[in-house]
């Protein structure tokens, strides 16, 4: 009980203060709708279906980009960690594109592919690629030499070393990178939608803002935060389950 109070206590306090500030007239409700107004809008959105379809679209884009980006990221990271030639080639490219805001590619992709899913997913793909490459690379590099040697002494073939030793041994790193990539996937999908899109929750809240439906706008943002939070928690749970054997696995209560 105490743990729940601790977690939600301050948030509840903020909400109460917020509500009082608006209702008492201290804050202009145009700029900051009261909590109950937002709650009503949230309810309306939840039952109307508009938010769901758009959330679904955004989630779909984010997830597809994330999955493909992570898969390629792990592959490239593995290559870089096991082949000096691959490292020599990809290393500088990775270092260089690290500083590139992937959102800046959206206008270019719009020029190439128009407004829609492709632009969005491609951006997410590129954004999720890098953290996974880097974390996979570092994870594999950190695998103790004696583990590989032991496996080799017991007759493990080259191809098997990758699958049976390197990947399990670097799993914590890889999954940590994916967790970061998960965060990025939301940011970029929303960014791309806000920059130019016909659908998606990012576009939706912008529309609400432009048409003055501020309570709905706040409600939409809340929905995004809730989805991102839930996804992150799910990721942590996944990591916990997959890394039960690890002595440094993230505790379930961590952020």
């Amino acid at each position: 009980m105490k743990a729940i109070a601790r977690r939600w206590g301050s948030i509840a306090a903020v909400l109460v203060a917020w509500e009082l500030a608006v209702v008492s007239g201290a804050v202009d409700p145009t700029f900051l709708p009261a909590v109950h107004t937002i709650a009503a809008a949230l309810w309306e959105l939840a039952t109307a279906g508009e938010v769901w379809t758009n959330l679904l679209v955004s989630t779909y884009r984010a997830v597809v980009g994330l999955v493909i980006g992570s898969a390629c990221g792990v592959a490239v990271g593995l290559m870089m960690a096991t082949s000096r030639a691959a490292n020599g080639f990809f290393g500088p490219l990775v270092a260089m594109t690290y500083s590139l805001p992937k959102a800046s590619l959206v206008p270019l992709f719009i020029l190439w592919f128009g407004i829609g899913d492709t632009t969005n997913m491609l951006t997410v793909f590129l954004a999720t690629l890098l953290p996974v490459v880097v974390s996979t690379y570092h994870g594999v590099k950190a695998v103790p030499q004696v583990l590989v040697w032991s496996a080799q002494a017991m007759g493990t073939s080259r191809g098997e070393i990758l699958r049976r030793i390197l990947i399990p041994a670097s799993l914590l790193s890889i999954l940590t990178g994916m967790r970061i990539a998960l965060g990025f996937s939301w940011v970029l999908t929303i960014s791309a939608e806000m920059i130019a899109s016909k659908t998606g929750i990012g576009k939706l809240i912008f529309l609400y803002g432009e048409s003055g439906a501020y309570a709905h706008m706040f409600a939409g943002i809340l929905a995004i935060v809730a989805v991102a939070y839930t996804a992150d928690r799910a990721m942590i749970w996944l990591m916990h389950a997959a890394l039960r054997w690890h002595d440094a696995a993230p505790a379930v209560g961590e952020h």
Binding site: R6, R7, W8, G9, S10, I11, A13, V14, F31, G88, F89, F90, G91, P92, L93, A95, M96, T97, Y98, S99, L100, P101, A103, S104, L105, V106, P107, L108, I110, L111, W112, L182, G183, W186, V187, T189, I190, S191, M194, I195, G202, I205, F206, Y208, G209, Y214, M217, F218, I221, I224, V225, A228, Y229, A231, D232, H255
Partner: protein, 269 residues
């Protein structure tokens, strides 16, 4: 058995080594540019979609002279830095307070937990609503985006300060305020710096993205402008400029770090 010869005799060899290292590092990028040039020249893709590297480079001078590079860049940087400084001050203070005072931790921790995984760009409409589309809203959005990692790094750094160090200081009669200033803060500095190093690119990216979404000047707006008028070489150029600004900033951070915190060993990127 190692040779004692070095210095002047090896200077040309060392120069050769540096050149070789530079080549090794840049050849993939050179290859990409080469592939780009070949693809553009082959006529396989229309110049509207893929201008040649030359066409992109040629855009640089006219844009520069026309005031469309320096001013937008300065505006973006100003916003990024303004937000960053704000995030640093608030974040470090919050992190330290969280580490030293339990009730602050109790209050701030849930907020950080919820805010961390959320895409802060989603809050952009709120900032626009409250502060318009000019500098203020963007600086605040940058600050909002960057404050959380800084809080977390500072908090971890401050709690990592050894108990015995603090006890020794307290035994010598150090007040809480002085303790913070002369013991906890310097010990936490490397952690804050690490948080900062990760956050600097985020600040820049947030500034650019906010400008792309909402306009109001800056490199992001310039990029969108070029795209709207199908000026593809300019689009490419702006993207490259954004990339370079990030790279330069990162190098500056590294240099600053070794100057400000010389006692901390450097780690690889």
């Amino acid at each position: 058995m190692e040779s004692a010869a070095g210095g002047a005799v090896n200077a040309p060899a060392r120069l050769g080594q540096s050149v070789w290292r530079a080549v090794k590092f840049t050849y993939p990028i050179a290859l990409v540019v080469l592939a780009w040039a070949i693809a553009a020249r082959s006529g396989w893709v229309r110049p509207l979609f893929l201008p040649s590297p030359q066409a992109v480079a040629e855009q640089f001078w006219p844009l520069l002279v026309g005031g469309e590079i320096v001013k937008p860049l300065a505006v973006s940087l100003w916003r990024a830095f303004g937000g960053l400084v704000l995030a640093l001050v608030i974040g470090a203070a919050a992190g330290l307070a969280m580490a030293r005072m339990r009730w602050v931790r109790w209050g701030v921790d849930p907020v950080v937990s919820f805010a961390f995984p959320a895409p802060k760009i989603a809050f952009m409409p709120i900032f626009i609503l409250w502060f318009g589309i000019d500098d203020v809203s963007k600086i605040l959005l940058v600050a909002f985006t960057c404050v959380f990692p800084i809080i977390v790094s500072t908090y971890h750094g401050a709690t990592a300060v050894s108990r015995t160090v603090i006890w020794s200081a307290q035994a010598m009669g150090t007040s809480e305020r002085t303790l913070l200033r002369r013991v906890v803060l310097p010990a936490t500095l490397p952690y804050i710096f690490t948080g900062l190093r990760v956050t600097v690119p985020v600040a820049l990216i947030t500034a650019y993205t906010a400008e792309m979404v909402a306009g109001g000047g800056g490199l992001g707006s310039a990029l969108m402008f070029a795209q709207r008028f199908f000026q593809t070489p300019a689009v490419f150029l702006y993207i490259i400029l954004m990339l370079l600004s990030g790279v330069v900033l990162d190098q500056v951070m590294l240099a600053a770090r070794s100057r400000l915190i010389p006692w901390q060993p450097e780690e690889d990127a």
